[in-house]
Subunit: 217 residues, 2 copies
């Protein structure tokens, strides 16, 4: 039997969940120590994966010229997205800092190799997106491991995955799952930035739990 | 500035990543204390979500008759999946225990409300599956929080999401993301079950890391 966690260790773990943030501002640009980055990627590699497929790869980007190109993909996508934002929220939307592509120390693109170990496999013949979901689990492990090291991560989702795939020369069987801005930060917000800035309130968890069937309290 | 984590706390966190398992056997069926379940769900609720959308719901299933119906959905899906498994692996596939729907204490279906806070929103107009991915992050937080409490979780992906949605009366704008078997377990495997049983080896992480572009070491 593997060892259990003590009450104090559990408190540490729950503090980690509560204090992880999606970071878009305050990146210092300092270098991430090599062993710290390795620990963060190793945490990702210990994520669960369907059929133990481990479909992920990690592309570490440092080159500023390349990042500038990717930043321009973000800008184009943001312009597209603005049209979908409701009129009363557009001013707030414009004021939000939504990525740290250039200021963060590095960017990491996390991809999913959809053909790894063969076309289909255990656990993903019936739900075809399970390999993508496994890769997301790896991203969440990275995010938490980074927070433990005082390294901020921000997920840039306002960007075309197809354009990114082209920019990074991904083979056609590999998909972008997450484009991350990664690096030391001045501080972590006490609450999610979008909550503090009035974009959206935290929901009451009791409202989100049902019993036996949808809608039943 | 939020407090940092000490070296010893970081070790605890990395032990958590390493010791989390996808559990399919050894569920004791004992009741999960109410406060433990609440802590696990609260960890899920602290996952990141695109535009702070919090698109998740948690349907807790205890009723054994209902679980038997869902178990029969698994059996049908496994029969379908077997046809996709390569000939040399079919015998091993047949021998694997792939879910603990009936023996676990409870099942939890984690869903994604794709229309929460309006049809589109910040961060998901350009990548439409970001709300599903946010929900997966919540699942991964649950999984880790459960492990900290010595509670096992197994994700059942060999099942039709459409049939599950019907069984749980989900509205059409709500999708199943994960069907989980949850409860105390006799023990946690030292290594992933599929690794120990010879289904798939762990990949070398160094082979999975590229620099600046796909394939570049």
């Amino acid at each position: 039997m593997q060892a259990s966690f003590t009450e104090s260790q559990k408190e540490t773990i729950h503090r980690l969940f509560r204090s992880r943030r999606d970071v878009r501002q305050g990146f210092t640009g300092e270098e991430i120590p090599k062993e710290t980055l390795e620990k963060i990627l190793l945490a990702a590699h210990h994520a669960p994966s369907v059929g133990f497929m481990q479909p992920w790869n990690f592309i570490v980007l440092e080159d500023l010229e390349k990042r500038k190109k990717i930043h321009s993909l973000f800008q184009a996508a943001k312009k597209n997205e603005r049209q979908h934002i409701s009129a009363e929220k557009q001013e707030l939307y414009d004021s939000l800092k939504l990525e740290g592509i250039l200021e963060s120390s590095i960017n990491i693109c996390v991809t999913c190799d959809r053909s790894r170990h063969g076309e289909t496999g255990l656990g993903r013949s019936q739900q075809s997106n399970m390999d993508l979901f496994s890769t997301v689990c790896a991203v969440q492990n990275m995010w938490l491991a980074a927070r433990a090291e005082d390294i901020g991560i921000g997920w840039v989702s306002i960007i075309s995955a197809e354009a990114l795939a082209k920019e990074l020369n991904l083979p056609e069987y590999v998909e972008v799952v997450a484009y991350l801005c990664v690096g030391p930060v001045e501080s972590f917000f006490e609450e999610p930035e979008l909550e503090q800035l009035g974009w959206q309130e935290r929901l009451d968890i009791q409202e989100l739990i049902y019993f036996e069937t949808w809608g039943q309290k």
